[in-house]
């Protein structure tokens, strides 16, 4: 029953994305949406409505910080690559993720890997992320602070 209710919003998203409201396209959309729902079979989860505003604020903050990080380190990597002397100081830095949930660790690793110049290549059971950096001379304190901020925002979003 819940799945049948989900068909309507998904179909609206499909029609909006394809921007074609002919009957044949609606039928194709219905087929695609029911296929997706059959494959994924989402279950109803209890929603904490009173936490929603702070979660949305944290999400926006997270996206803005991530975008800023991405652009700054993108420029930095481009400068390293185009420099005639090629000043790379590569190395592997261990960053403890300190997240309780597996989802939190996975999303922190995702955010780190998304940032140019940093690449998580291995994780262990304690959630330590072994990160390959183009510039491994950054101080421990800076790395730990960035991870702490990331973790706090992620916990606010998914709690």
């Amino acid at each position: 029953m819940y799945n049948l209710l989900l068909i309507v919003p998904l179909l609206l998203v499909y029609l909006e994305l394809s921007s074609n409201f002919e009957l044949s396209n609606v039928v194709v959309g219905l087929l695609i949406v029911s296929g997706i729902l059959l494959l994924i079979r989402p279950r109803r989860r209890p929603m904490a409505w009173h936490r929603l505003p702070s979660a949305i604020v944290a999400l926006i903050k997270y996206v803005v910080i991530l975008a800023y990080d991405l652009i700054m380190s993108g420029i930095q990597v481009a400068r390293i690559v185009l420099d005639p002397a090629l000043p790379i100081q590569q190395g592997i830095v261990a960053i403890p993720s300190e997240c309780e949930s597996e989802l939190g660790s996975a999303l922190s690793a995702h955010a780190i890997t998304l940032t140019p110049g940093e690449l998580v290549i291995e994780m262990d059971e304690q959630g330590v992320m072994y990160t390959h950096c183009l510039d491994a001379t950054k101080s421990e304190q800076y790395v730990a602070e960035a991870q702490k901020m990331r973790r706090d925002l992620l916990e606010k979003i998914f709690s």
Binding site: E16, L17, S19, L70, G74, V77, A78, V81, L82, L86, I88, Q89, Q90, G91, I92, V93, A94, A109, H110, T113, L114, T115, P116, G117, L119, V120, I121, E122, Y130, H132, L134, A136, T137
Partner: protein, 111 residues
């Protein structure tokens, strides 16, 4: 207003192309697997994202699809880079001139 959108689209095309070129140059110049992954996986994705931003601004009906593709790219790009890097580490490919190495041996690379 239309001209404004056009200018943003053209700027995004220029920036995206620039980042794509940097990605290829980095792939040729950098010394080993891990650093090359930085160049292609990151700067390459950057380039494609900016080109999609240009498409979203230049084509009034296409912004939904553009944003959707950006979301998919941003989710899957790091996963592929991580997969290749992790595989390279497990078969023990060397890191040329590493300044520091907190990951000396994983259990897999020892056996």
């Amino acid at each position: 207003m239309n001209l404004f959108l056009q200018v943003i689209a053209i700027l995004a095309v220029v920036v995206g192309t620039l980042f794509s070129v940097v990605g290829v140059v980095g792939f040729i110049r950098l010394p080993d697997v891990y650093t090359r992954l930085h160049a292609t996986g990151k700067v390459g994705v950057f380039g494609v994202v900016f080109l999609l931003v240009a498409a979203a601004f230049g084509e009034p009906l296409g912004w939904g699809r553009g944003l959707f593709l950006i979301l998919l790219l941003v989710i899957t790009g790091p996963a592929t880079a991580h997969a290749i890097g992790s595989a390279a580490n497990r078969i023990g490919l060397p890191r040329k001139g590493a300044e520091r190495d907190d990951l000396v041996y994983t259990s897999k690379s020892k056996s």
